[in-house]
């Protein structure tokens, strides 16, 4: 058995290339978008469209999840995400209970695992969890029969936000394939950015991330398995520190909230400097494609990452994002409860 043919060892393909058969839904949980195929994301989009019609009715209620118990467990504060999930569950006819850490035995030191087991014993069919530590919803999912939806874990993932952002973009632009989507802000600390990177690249968009170099993760643009390896888990995206180059000819401008704490840790010298260099103003927005959409996950620091006139301007779809959030979350709740048959 000789032969000089070199054996080419191929790197395993990135997760975005694995596809379950069309028409199938593989998820008992929704923890991140890194294991969603284009077909599954399309299914969420279609289902959310149906749910949007339901929400437009005089009585926006359907009996589909009657008898299902949904419990939201938020270890971090939230206005829009929590109320969005609650309204989504109620619109589907489910029973929804909200637990926040301050009002529960979590203040007595009860662990995530114990909380999740208790809620399962109480009858939870679906848990919606937000936690400040990345991975907490994965721990919950391993310890319960209930379906778990990640409503935001640390800096890691916020899948329902990325899906509603995608839904909003598609409702204006149709397909995102080939479209230039720029994400501007504190990428390092943003679970919204990471989930959007997954969702948008899976659907074929051209993603550019932009922000202060101190707030851009290392290794984002490199080949997979780059030396540093810290962000090797994300699909490669274009990285740009100059916001004018990033925004030029963009179809979508997604801005992220700058947490003012970043100033304290020395990652950004001052708000004024951030605004000068990265704030999305009407002048900068004018260099994007005409009619380019402006998104923000909220809450918006007006006058910081985005100017007031842009936030409230004609190209801003920020309020639509919130409205679409209920429809997209209804779709997720429906799909994970109906997918196991």
């Amino acid at each position: 058995m000789g032969g000089s043919a070199a054996l080419l060892v191929q790197e395993p393909p990135p997760a975005i290339l694995t596809r379950p058969a069309p028409g199938t839904w593989q998820h008992h949980h929704v923890l991140d978008l890194d294991d969603f195929s284009t077909d599954e994301i399309e299914l969420v989009m279609e289902t959310a469209g149906v749910m949007k019609e339901v929400l437009a009715r005089p009585i926006p209620r359907i009996p589909t999840l009657r008898g299902t118990t949904i419990i939201t467990v938020f270890y971090e504060a939230s206005t829009r995400t929590r109320s969005s999930f609650e309204l989504a569950g109620k619109a589907l006819g489910a029973d929804v209970i909200n637990i926040t850490s301050s009002g529960s035995s979590i203040t007595k030191g009860e662990s995530v695992v114990d909380t999740v087991l208790t809620l399962q014993a109480v009858g939870a069919d679906i848990l919606v969890m937000r936690h400040s530590h990345s991975g907490a919803p994965y721990l919950a999912a391993r310890n319960t029969r209930a379906g778990v939806i990640n409503a935001g874990d640390g800096w890691h993932a916020h899948p329902s936000q990325a899906l509603l952002d995608l839904f909003t973009i598609r409702s204006h632009l149709g397909d995102v394939r080939g479209r230039k989507v720029v994400i501007i802000g504190d990428i390092t600390h943003s679970r919204v950015a990471r989930s959007n990177i997954w969702g948008l690249t899976t659907m074929g968009a051209h993603v550019v991330v932009c922000g202060p170099p101190t707030l851009l993760p290392v290794g984002l643009e490199g080949p997979r398995g780059s030396e540093d390896g810290r962000e090797a888990a994300l699909p490669p995206v274009e990285v740009e520190t100059n916001v004018d180059r990033a925004i030029k000819d963009a179809d979508v401008v997604m801005t992220l909230r700058l947490q003012l704490e970043r100033m304290q840790s020395g990652l950004v010298p001052s708000i004024r400097e951030y605004c000068n260099l990265w704030q999305v103003t009407s002048k900068r927005l004018a260099t994007a494609k005409p009619g380019a959409l402006v998104l923000h996950p909220g809450p918006v620091n007006e006058g910081v990452e985005i100017s007031l006139d842009v936030a409230h301007g004609a190209q801003s779809v920020i309020e639509e994002q919130v409205a679409n959030g209920v429809a997209v979350r209804m779709a997720l709740l429906y799909l994970i409860s109906r997918g196991r048959g």
């Binding site: 289902t47 469209g49 019609e53 009715r57 009996p63 109906r338 048959g341």
Partner: protein, 179 residues
């Protein structure tokens, strides 16, 4: 599996025309009429009935569509094999005389689901039911007001309605299940 043609394309055409006339007769005209087609084949049927009425009566009856995927009572069993589509109810149905249109009436559970869905849209004056085929075996107290053809069937049989708009041709076939 042996397939028998129960209705030819001409039979389907005549049945639709007769149903259209019966609806107008029974409702003493077209005042406040709204047709709601049940996804999928009820929709083209409703449109054809409305078109027939436009031809002989000169009146336009609005046609909407209803998807009852989210109202089924058997969801845990059928899971995701059911494709749900958006419903489109074109006008306010309060005070209107609705006619639900479907291709086959069998157990009656789809109609029950449709009634639940419609009540959420408003309070119609009345709801009637028009079906192309009634195959018997009702499991709920539901009855049609207008029927194209009554077909006695066994539970093991399958009744397939085919329409030009959805299947490329018109006809109704009975497929006897051999066990």
């Amino acid at each position: 599996m042996p397939e028998t043609t129960i209705m030819s394309s001409e039979d389907v055409r005549r049945a639709i025309m007769r149903i259209a006339h019966e609806i107008v007769e029974n409702n003493h005209g077209c005042q406040d009429l709204v047709f709601i087609g049940m996804q999928t084949r009820g929709v083209p049927l409703a449109e054809r009935i409305a078109q027939g009425i436009a031809e002989f009566e000169g009146e336009t009856v609005p046609v909407g569509s209803l998807d009852i995927g989210l109202y089924r009572d058997d969801l845990p069993d059928v899971g995701l094999s059911i494709e749900i589509k958006p419903s489109d109810i074109p006008t306010d149905i309060a005070g209107k005389r609705l006619v639900l249109v479907d291709d086959v009436l069998y157990t009656g559970r789809s109609i029950r689901a449709a009634l639940d869905a419609l009540i959420d849209y408003g309070r119609p004056q009345r709801i009637q039911l028009a079906v192309l085929v009634d195959r018997g075996h009702r499991e709920l107290p539901i009855r049609p007001d207008y029927v194209g053809k009554n077909i006695p069937t066994s539970r093991r049989d399958d009744v397939q309605v085919r329409l030009l708009e959805t299947d490329g041709g018109d006809g109704v076939a009975l497929i006897a299940e051999s066990r």
